[in-house]
Symmetry: C2
Subunit: 684 residues, 2 copies
């Protein structure tokens, strides 16, 4: 790990590793989505964007690349992992198209496929794949986005007519932010409280027509438009309200719960909460796709900022004719390189997540095996955690990349504004990141034995008592390797070199374990506190609990990076990844230096060495910045950033002219007269 | 400072303090800018936005509120501080209008006023104020934004014709991102290298016509359009190139440098660099206005997020019927309250800066006194530092506020998307924040004795030798008070209560002083290192140097907050501000805990106490969140955020309906069935 780097590394070798298990899907996308029609467009009105995206969705469907995740017998490929990989590739293009596709084939199609039964599949899957039946995933309500078990929409069975009565009791119960609702949707999978024979059986889903063939709303359905948004102008988000709409009995997506003609309710899952979350658990793919798409958008932003930083020059170095390339400034490197390292780390973690998801879903949905509940819970937790990490990394990094390109980064023609605006909602949809962190924490506290339940469930002394558990960290990928690396580190680790991967892993593990144990201790103490409100027992430690979740996610990501390096066969590519992994690990520790100092895992002296080591890594990685973005293999046609085309020529033209001037009599010598950092142009 | 808070505080009393020295300007704006036409609009095309903003600029000019900063003899009021206050108020409305006004009356008008002489004033100031002469501030070039002393546009005097030849030698020298250029500008203040009698005298400014009365470009002028941007759609940014354009001699804005008919150059300031920065120094107001406007936009975002968080509910508490108001969650408080405290701190620092600027400019430009150069340098450094702090705080906080409002925060109708997009460029225009931090650091290293020079200047051993200086921190406002508070703290401060203001100030001071001394030590070491490239001597410590600048800015802000509290007469308002100041100070220390642990100013135990203390402050301030945003006194008409109008009614309607259901037979009991944090709705 302390090896010095080869002068050049073949980006193709890195790309192979990054492409991974679904490399064939990624290569196929690079070859066939080059069609300029798929390139992002700026300066459109909302109407223009919506029409273009609907047209492209239809065109995309025609390529047959949208069916990967659907069953073979209906023209799909039973390749759930492949469907995520193809969404990730789509995310290098227009993000409105990616989200539109996610809504149609991921959320809507996925719900029909996974919550519905054969009659629903026979009737609709083909039309869904061909986009002849555009549909909505109508779960979120204006009043309930995070707490969807508390949706207020009701669907009450009436044995007389053999139909359900779907109703929106008040404005807060209207369906909101629903993709495909404002313009294209013909049907919607509507989530509501199932009531039959006077009993509420909790949230279920129905397939409900919302528009007639002429595009007018169906009787009793009111459709609203969410109007312009920060970004994703091409996605027609809207609102749906139902005024006692009659829904035929067989439109209930009844895989997990059935209602007989006489209104008798049956389900293979007794517990209502367990049933609800089993249903939702099957839909985990949506969250995995958002994380992956955020990753792609971030790579795009880094690709633009790194290339621009390689040709953009500002301020002359003493005695030098030409000005300094901004990627040579230490502080610019501190902005770009740790972000780049994090994107690599997240890429490997995402790849691992997609593989796990694929295998779990293949077992249950294709081979029809029993659901392994703990495994399912852990998958959901992993998906939640990486969605949080990927989307917050995207928000931070795209913002940084925009600023790193200065005024040029603010122009739509340079792509970054759309990347920022389109991905901005990722941190709060498919699960609000803060709420998802809580979900991850919950899993850690219960060891996934019972990750059901709720905030108030946390208040039950019984639950807290359960927390008397040994906190053993389950290891992720490359278990053997990681165990070896960690065990090789001597107990007294004050003088272990920081580039020792084992030491880095050990620091991540220690922080997670210690933080988790501390949270449990505090929770139990509060539970034992006379007169403390159950809500306060948990709210009092909420920051600590969420922090614990974060440390867990960090460890999962680092271990995935280590596993990815292990899979790398090319020695040069491997050496570069090792170096990048050092940067990711040490930079992450540096970000949380206070904690390690506070808990005696870093001495003040070591803490200073840490920062120096990070700066050395930046110097070593500087020459490889371009290689690292080349390896993302983003087709040039997809970038659509003007600065990348022009800046280099401009700089060359200026250099040539400057050389003339330096010869010329009237010219002042750039090398004599100094550049300055004193004043900066007000470019308004 | 450890006092407990009154149960309610009158926001009006707080508002008085915040309104400050230019309260009359702020009150006047609240009363007269209520016109709905000034309210922000969303969903427009770029063309529509540009036309509306041009119309509003004209209308604004008609109110006579734009002349504050101009000389009395031309219809102005010689009130430079008041002009900033009025821009800050304008920033609560449509930010495109604020920027358009800043370009016309701040940058363009200000340059004519401050760089020009009587003949320019007589000829143009009236038309500039009335917007009959829309103009541009054409400084930035595509190739030079930060290093404007190196602009490549040339303006060469020809004694034969008695005119200047203005020329753009290559594409990188074109003027770029220039407000008012794409559509409205009739004239431009163009910055270029002044060459006469074969000698280059550095950058000067000329008043140059760019459009004919029929709107067509003048001969030799090429006008381009920067097109759609991330935000500020109403501002017509464009590009200007000049092909040997003849400019009459008297169009040179010749306050600081003159060219005689025969081409002889004269100036009261010998040194070219010093002359250039004296010219630019007079334009400091633009940077001060951007910082203040960022502050207003941030207050608006906080106002929206705080009010929404007070009515938005999610997840039921055990045994409670109604769900929990999200402002009651500790982690939500950790997002909103420190940001709110920082906005208050920055407000007081900004007020202090504006006052200083006003007094300096009044002395030199109205009373005609000599420029106090050190004072001017310090003012520029202060303006740079607060611009950085205000604009980065805006970017972070508006982003956070958007996320704190969930999906609703992503809808244009709720205002936050525009606030984010419009302010986003603030971090890189009027000076790139990173470059400005370097400017601040430069001032600290040289103690403002010689804050001229350049990056390469830093390489001169002579300069580094100069760094052998005693680093005494000049104190800002309320010098006496702050000295007393600090001196009252015992040397061994391990057991001083953290709520002791003196201890807080001392920590800020210690960090700045120690960091500055460390930077100097490292710079001198590098300068003494055999064979180290001058550029590397500085680049090697760039992160440390910029960090030092940041610690300096933090101290300036805290001291301004303390001074503001001192000015507060109402005891309740004062008590609340004290508490808020505790939060600002301790939260800032918490953010940099690692440094204080590393340098032995916090023990691990104290570090834990610190976090606990911050959480206690959050609990104490929670009941006053609304009061704190009420005190911003933002007219309701300016907010234009739908959620603020509707969310409360929706929640009430739902509560009423829920109560019915709980009576009804078919209803399940919200209090028995638990809410959950397990799953979150994919609202796509």
């Amino acid at each position: 790990m302390t090896s010095t780097l080869p002068t050049t590394v073949d980006p193709g070798k890195l790309q192979e590793v990054l492409d991974g298990r679904w490399g064939h899907v990624r290569r196929d996308a690079r070859e066939h989505l080059g069609d300029p029609e798929f390139a992002p467009v700026y300066g459109e009105t909302m109407q223009e964007a919506r029409e273009r995206i609907s047209r492209l969705a239809k065109k995309l469907a025609a390529t047959g690349r949208v069916g990967l995740g659907f069953p073979k017998e209906y023209g799909g490929q039973d390749d759930s992992g492949g469907s995520v990989a193809s969404i990730e590739m789509l995310a290098f293009g227009d993000l409105s198209l990616m989200v539109k596709a996610g809504v149609q084939w991921g959320l809507f199609g996925g719900a029909v496929q996974l919550l519905g039964t054969e009659r629903h599949h026979r009737a609709h899957l083909a039309d869904i794949m061909s986009f002849d039946l555009p549909g909505c995933f109508a779960m979120t309500e204006t009043g309930h986005g995070s707490d969807v078990q508390q949706l207020r929409t009701t669907c009450t069975y009436d044995a007389e007519t053999g139909t359900f009565d779907l109703h929106t009791p008040h404005e807060a119960a209207r369906k909101d932010y629903i993709g495909n609702a404002a313009k294209d949707g013909r049907m919607a999978v509507v989530f509501a409280q199932l009531i039959t024979q006077g009993k509420n059986h909790g949230v279920h889903a129905w397939l409900v027509p919302i528009r007639n063939d002429d595009g007018t709303p169906c009787e009793g359905v009111t459709i609203g438009d969410d109007g312009p948004k920060a970004g994703l102008l091409g996605v027609d988000n809207g609102r749906l309200s139902f005024d006692h709409v009659r829904v035929p009995r067989d439109m209930l997506l009844d895989r997990y719960g059935q209602v007989a003609e006489d209104g008798t309710y049956t389900s293979s899952i007794e517990n209502e909460t367990r049933r609800f979350f089993t249903m939702l658990g099957t839909l985990v793919r949506g969250r995995v796709s958002v994380g992956g798409s955020a990753g792609s958008a971030t790579k795009m932003a880094l690709d633009i900022a790194v290339r621009y930083g390689n040709v953009r020059r500002q301020f002359a170095a003493p005695g030098k004719d030409r000005e300094i390339v901004i990627n040579d400034y230490l502080v610019h490197q501190r902005k770009l390189l740790p972000a780049l390292a994090t994107s690599y780390a997240l890429h490997f973690a995402q790849e691992e997540l997609v593989s796990t998801m694929h295998d779990v879903q293949y077992k249950t949905h294709v081979l029809g095996e029993e659901i392994d509940e703990a495994g399912q819970r852990e998958l959901e937790s992993r998906a939640a955690g990486l969605k949080v990490a990927n989307t917050w990394h995207a928000t931070r990094t795209i913002q940084m990349a925009r600023e790193a390109c200065g005024g040029a980064g603010y122009l739509a023609e340079n792509r970054l504004p759309a990347l920022k605006a389109d991905t901005d909602v990722f941190t709060t949809f498919e699960g609000d990141n803060t709420v998802l962190l809580q979900l991850v924490a919950k899993g850690l506290l219960t060891g996934y034995r019972d990750a059901f339940g709720s905030l108030d469930g946390w208040g039950k002394v019984g639950f807290v008592a359960d927390l008397v558990r040994e906190t053993v960290l389950e290891r992720t990928a490359a278990r053997g390797l990681i165990a070896r690396l960690v065990d090789a580190v001597p107990g007294r680790d004050d003088d272990v070199p920081m580039l020792d991967r084992g030491w880095q892993l050990k620091m991540f593990e220690f922080r997670e374990k210690h933080s988790l144990e501390g949270a449990i201790k505090r929770l139990r103490k509060n539970a034992a506190t006379e007169g403390m409100e159950p809500f306060d027992m948990f709210n009092d430690v909420q920051d600590h609990v969420l922090r614990t979740a974060q440390t867990h996610i960090d460890r999962v990501i680092l271990e995935a990076f280590v596993a990815g390096i292990e899979r790398t066969t090319d020695p040069d590519a491997q050496a570069l990844l090792e170096k990048l992994c050092d940067l990711y690990a040490l930079w992450t520790i540096e970000q949380d230096k206070a904690w390690f100092l506070e808990h005696g895992r870093l001495t003040p002296t070591r803490a200073k060495v840490l920062t120096a080591t990070v700066n050395t890594l930046l110097k070593e990685l500087r020459p490889h910045m371009t290689t690292l973005v080349d390896a993302f293999a983003i087709p040039a046609a997809w970038k659509a950033a003007k600065i990348l085309e022009e800046e280099d020529d401009r700089q060359e033209a200026m250099a040539a002219r400057d050389a003339e001037v330096r010869q010329g009599a009237e010219g002042r010598q750039a090398s004599k007269e100094s550049a300055t950092d004193l004043e900066v142009a007000p470019a308004q």
